[in-house]
């Protein structure tokens, strides 16, 4: 099985930025977005996320599958929150203005089920959608635009100790090898009559029948690890600070991006502290409720 990274060189503004700056900016935006429920502010964040996505020049074709899956989850979770009464965090809203009460009687059992559609619940659901899409768009762009060979040095640059950054680098390098090992194991098991697509029996039996795929690949990797450990020990791994093949240096644009991220984050905390950014209910919805 060929395992390919989503990343490819696109020569865009986004890809020319230092990955450390991009990760700091993404985290700053994430921690800023979660401070607000005001749709007007959430839409601003959504706008920034969409701009970043547009600058990354990702095509619909390469992201289609992810969009469909993520949109399904976001919509499902929003509807579920809407249906399960007081949506969201307790401080989002305390008072509700009823727009319409929907009700039905379940056949056979005769239970009465009702759903109150209120102005607050409705605008909360819309804000929640905007907020979740803003976070997701920020997050999706990373794997498509950051070179996998730079992750080790990136996280080292973000303060992760050498050993952990090296382990991260090593993990990314192991992926194609393990993908190939899985493919060889799958072919070998198929040659013995194993059919992963046609697992039969109950749930316990089905899960147990995955062991012939999982166990050989895992144990083989662990056995092979001993040679890697010996080779690294012979080269005195971990004795002194490491050097990296790729060097990352902040340029002006990167520093500006970090400054912008920090500024937005600080501003968000101040605004939240002042009580700005709570759920905003448009007049039109309140009129619908009272009318």
């Amino acid at each position: 099985m060929l395992i390919a990274w989503r990343y490819r060189e696109r020569n865009t503004i986004i890809q020319r930025l230092d990955p450390r700056a991009r990760i700091i900016f993404m985290l700053a935006m994430l921690f800023s977005i979660i401070q607000f429920w005001d749709l007007r502010i959430t839409l601003l964040f959504l706008g920034v996320a969409v701009l970043q996505y547009a600058l990354a020049r990702l095509t619909w074709r390469e992201t289609r599958r992810v969009w469909i899956l993520i949109s399904f989850i976001i919509l499902f979770m929003t509807i579920l929150t809407f249906l399960t009464g007081r949506g969201g965090v307790e401080y989002a809203y305390h008072q509700e203005h009823l727009i319409r009460r929907l009700g039905l009687t379940l056949p056979i059992v005769g239970w009465q089920v009702h759903l109150d559609v209120t102005a607050e619940k409705t605008i909360f659901a819309i804000s929640q959608l905007a907020r979740m899409y803003a976070i997701t768009i920020m997050a999706i762009t990373i794997p498509y635009t950051v070179d996998p060979s730079l992750y080790g040095v990136t996280f080292r640059g973000l303060g992760l100790p050498d050993k952990f950054a090296y382990a991260m680098d090593l993990a990314f390098r192991f992926v194609p090898t393990l993908g190939r090992d899985f493919s060889v194991t799958l072919d070998s098991q198929r040659a013995r009559g194993y059919e992963v697509e046609k697992l039969s029996g109950g749930i316990v039996a089905q899960i147990r029948r995955l062991a012939p795929l999982l166990v050989p690949v895992t144990i083989n990797a662990i056995v092979g690890a001993e040679d890697i450990i010996d080779a690294m020990d012979l080269r005195a791994f971990g004795v002194g600070p490491r050097t990296w093949v790729h060097e990352l240096t902040y340029r002006r644009a990167d520093k500006l991006l970090i400054a912008a991220g920090v500024l937005v984050f600080v501003a968000s905390i101040v605004l939240a502290f002042l009580g700005i950014g709570k759920l905003w209910v448009p007049e039109v919805l309140l009129r619908l409720a009272t009318g």
């Binding site: 969201g88 382990a167 991260m168």
Partner: protein, 302 residues
Amino acid sequence: MTTQGFTRNRAVVWLVVLVVIVLLMALASLLTSGDKVQGVAPIGVTAIGLIGVFAVYLVTARSEAWVVGTRQVVYMAIGAALYGVFNYIFNTIPMPSVSQVSLRPAVCIPIFFGYVFGPVVGFFTGAVGNILGDFLTGWGVYPAWDVGNGLMGMVPGLVLLFADKKRSLNFLTILVAVLIVIASALIYLNPKVPGPWTGEIEDFSFWAWAFIIGGVVVIIGRFVLERFASIDLAAINIWGTLGIIIGIGFAALADIWVNGYSFATAIIGEFAPAAGPNILNAMILTPILLAAYQAVQARTGR
């Protein structure tokens, strides 16, 4: 100064900074009638969690379980790569599923790596493996779920803090019993609270019984597995289950603040569909993996 001493000093500095921030937030909350500081609740909860984890580390700092040498670095990398690759493969190849239980065999990887190679390897395997899997599928980066997956691997690794597996199980049994007594007592003392589904005042005394019955089942399960299977099987299953509950629970509850889910959405929409199948998959596959590993270990002598 030794590296360990330096790391500990730095950790203490960060802990002090964290405590100061939390105190400032709490003070600001008091001075502004509480509702103006929207972030104080999640920060407080996160801080309590971090202080708890740090306290566990301080108490057990001398344990071999926290050592990170060449061996751990390589196993961290292999564990993360395996978890990422399996996540990708089992998400993309067509797999059958029975009823609402999906097949998630990859979940046994962080639990196995944590249980065998320690909490640091387990945490790294879960967290970085999840990042890798999300990168391969193109899903993006979701810090709360990465940490949740990390906890799923770290908790089973805590077994190495004990002199032997039996003592770890005794500790867990006592912990479960004490937590159940506290939870049940709290519910009985204050059974009528606003329901997470409706927001109306409801009687929750039923949940005290649910806790007691659940706890008794876990404790009986421990002794049955220990008596009729093996101590290793009992330990990996119980520590693994605890890891899944804590890890997925953390990620699902974090989404209440991140995505604004209601408590019901977090539990019904995220925790139950993820934790349930994960526990089932892990309880079946992790012991098989452990048995295979022990056989290889006995043969090679490493």
